[in-house]
């Protein structure tokens, strides 16, 4: 017992010496150049962010409106071609654009029809002038890109067709190359292959801004995520879904709950702009995408998984998405989504559990150790001379 006290005292003395050297901790300098942002600056920066967001949203609306005007102008009732090229597109670019669109359209499979989808390509090199020209900071209001692709859902067009509005900002070889690198069918691929969605499925897709159906490349076999850290990009609902917590997948899919995507202006709900930033809000906080960065592939993978015909039944069903999926595929949407998450991001490791053999070993060894510990220590006395 005395030895324990001596050791404790020695450790306490060492700790006291270290504390005496380090304490008091140096205070933060009030004149530091790295102090937190001042309140007025934070407020002004927030206001600037909001203004910038509003301005850029207005720019996107303007461009979309212009594109729809062009599309409407040349529209005819008997137009059954999956691609329409605007008169502004030079002939050699039109040939290249047709080739790119035809290739992507063919990948949708034999079901693809122009009755519910179309790709509209036009050239528009105009710039939107800034409000003040003499400002040193004035640049362009639009991001730099060679090609912009926006998807106008049927509500924004003629009520029947989803139109991919492809704006080429020039007609050089670089613009054509950029065209071939982008998906020109995107969400409209689903309309082309499966027609108009059923009532409740359509409502779910609209409420979630088609974020699970942004890619229609179901002809491509995707490997699981290579980056092990991609798993951490899931929101908590996605995490619950992956770990098999009941209701987690439906939460992540926003089925039966309020969608977590930021609400946009009503007329923007019919326009899908893949380049526009999308914020996922829950309780006023910006969160990760519920199903991670790959969530835009979800329904395309569902097409691959259950087959085109069954998916078509799901897509066109008037029922709620989960019951429609169950009746079309025979499996629940929840369990399929969990499988998809596991396949895409990797399985979660098993929870640590107490194994029987560990308990058995401990039960065997602990008494032996206890006996050794409490055994009286023999003192070796110096041999008598």
């Amino acid at each position: 017992m005395g030895m324990i006290w001596r050791w404790s005292a020695a450790v306490a003395l060492i700790c006291a010496a270290v504390a005496a050297v380090l304490l008091p901790f140096p205070p933060s300098r009030p004149d530091s150049w790295t102090t937190p942002v001042s309140a007025p600056l934070a407020s002004a920066t927030r206001a600037l962010t909001q203004a910038a967001e509003a301005a850029h949203r207005a720019v996107r609306e303007y461009r979309t409106a212009q594109a729809l005007d062009r599309w409407n102008t040349a529209r005819t009732a008997a137009d059954t071609s999956p691609i329409r090229i605007d008169a502004s597109v030079p002939e050699r670019v039109a040939v290249a654009a047709r080739s790119v669109v035809s290739e992507q359209w063919a990948a949708l499979g034999p079901r693809a029809s122009a009755s519910h989808a179309q790709v509209f390509v036009y050239v528009d090199t105009t710039l939107i002038p800034r409000a003040t020209r003499d400002d040193a900071k004035s640049g362009t209001l639009e991001s730099r890109a060679l090609v912009d692709v926006v998807f106008a859902l049927p509500k924004a067009t003629d009520g029947e067709r989803c139109v991919a509005l492809v704006r080429m900002r020039g007609s050089s070889a670089a613009h054509i190359a950029a065209l071939s690198r982008q998906s020109l069918v995107g969400v409209c691929g689903f309309f082309a292959a499966f027609g108009m969605p059923g009532t409740r499925v359509g409502e779910w897709l609209s409420a979630t801004q088609y974020r699970f159906a942004r890619r229609s490349d179901w002809n491509v076999a995707r490997a699981m995520a290579i980056d092990a850290a991609a798993l951490y990009g899931l929101d908590d609902a996605g995490g619950r879904c992956l770990t098999g917590v009941a209701g987690g997948c439906l939460d992540a899919l926003s089925i039966g709950t309020a969608p977590k995507t930021a609400t946009l202006a009503p007329q923007r709900g019919a326009i899908i702009d893949p380049s526009a930033p999308v914020a996922y809000l829950a309780g006023g906080r910006v969160r990760n995408a519920p199903l991670g960065s790959a969530e835009d592939e979800l329904l395309a993978d569902a097409v691959r998984s259950i087959g085109v015909d069954r998916f078509a039944r799901f897509w066109g069903s008037p029922s709620t998405p989960d019951s429609a999926y169950r009746s079309a595929s025979g499996t629940s949407l929840e369990s399929w989504t969990q499988e998809w998450l596991t396949r895409t991001y990797g399985a979660v490791g098993e929870r640590p559990t107490v194994r029987f053999r560990d308990v058995a070993w401990i039960a065997l060894i602990a008494p032996i150790l206890l006996v050794i510990a409490v055994r009286p220590r023999e003192r070796v006395l110096p041999a008598a001379r």
Partner: protein, 382 residues
Amino acid sequence: MSERHLVFLIAVAIAAASTPIRAQDRDGQPDSLLRRIQRLDSVMIARSHRVDSIRRSLVRPIPPVRVQRGTIQVRTDSVLGPSVRVAVDSVAALIERRGGTMLGARVAGHVLLVIPDSVQSAFWTRPVVTLLADTARRWTVGRAQTAADPTPAQVAAGLATLVEQIAMQGADSALSAWVMLGRAPLRDATPTETADEYIQMVTAQAAVVRRCRSRDVASCLDALGIDSLPGTRLDRWYAPEDYRSALRVAAPPREDSAAVDAWIRCRHDGDQTSCRAAAVALPNDRVPMPLPASVRQAFLREVLDAGGAGAYDRLLAGTGTLRSRLTVAAGEPLDATVARWLQRVERSRPERMRPPAGLILASLGWSAAFVALALIRRTSWA
């Protein structure tokens, strides 16, 4: 109203209702959308000015001590003043040695700050000295930190870092993209840097670097990203035996599931066939560079050394390809620069690592402590 009129009006109403959404329908006229953009843009610009104005008002009083040598001007406090004066002398000599009006003008456009500061550490704030490239802005591009009680050499190193960063500010995108690190190598290389450069060269698992080390100038220029040889990057840079190494830092796109499977097998099992399948599936822009940015810095230093005073100005003012600009800056054919650089790299092989004296002392001390504890255990305290 007659029945004909009523039918006509209903027909017009139905036609209007079925007219698809047009730009005009959204907000009146396209012009009105443009006017709205202009209005929002004005608001954005006004708020941007407001942020700038607040940021300017937040700048602390400039430290009182002013130190100037040539084009470099520094502000600091009275405690750091003596160290800063000595440091500024050496940095001014560096600027003069690299010479050129452009570098001088760029440095003269800044008032550097050397101020006492503090940074957050795990449990408390740690006093440091911060070096900033500007007094006007709160978050400046150029920034360095050093110990709380720095020697003149430490201050000089921090100031030289700022000058190197200032030298690359505003450089054209082609040169900036090639340099990658955002600073021009104006100082002489330290022994550690030259040793690292040698290690990078001899350990790079890339065929193009091996060819470079055997004095193939074209391969050196390709490996350094200055001038490319014909063919794809994979073919130019890597031999099949290098694929596994290259695939440690690059992966094929997820859409190519067969290639990703091969990539996983290559990484786990080292299967050469899988490595080849995964490597050939890499898009050209995903093939990893054979040499890191630090080697490019070292080569740029060689170019500036070869060009002498004014080399930096010629590099920045030059036009044309990167190769021609580096040639003009070096003032000699680039082949000669590459040859000299290779000789220097081969000469800079580091000595075998010598264990530091502190490590030896610590080992002896701990050993003695354990022996002492063992002896104490034998003679019980109880």
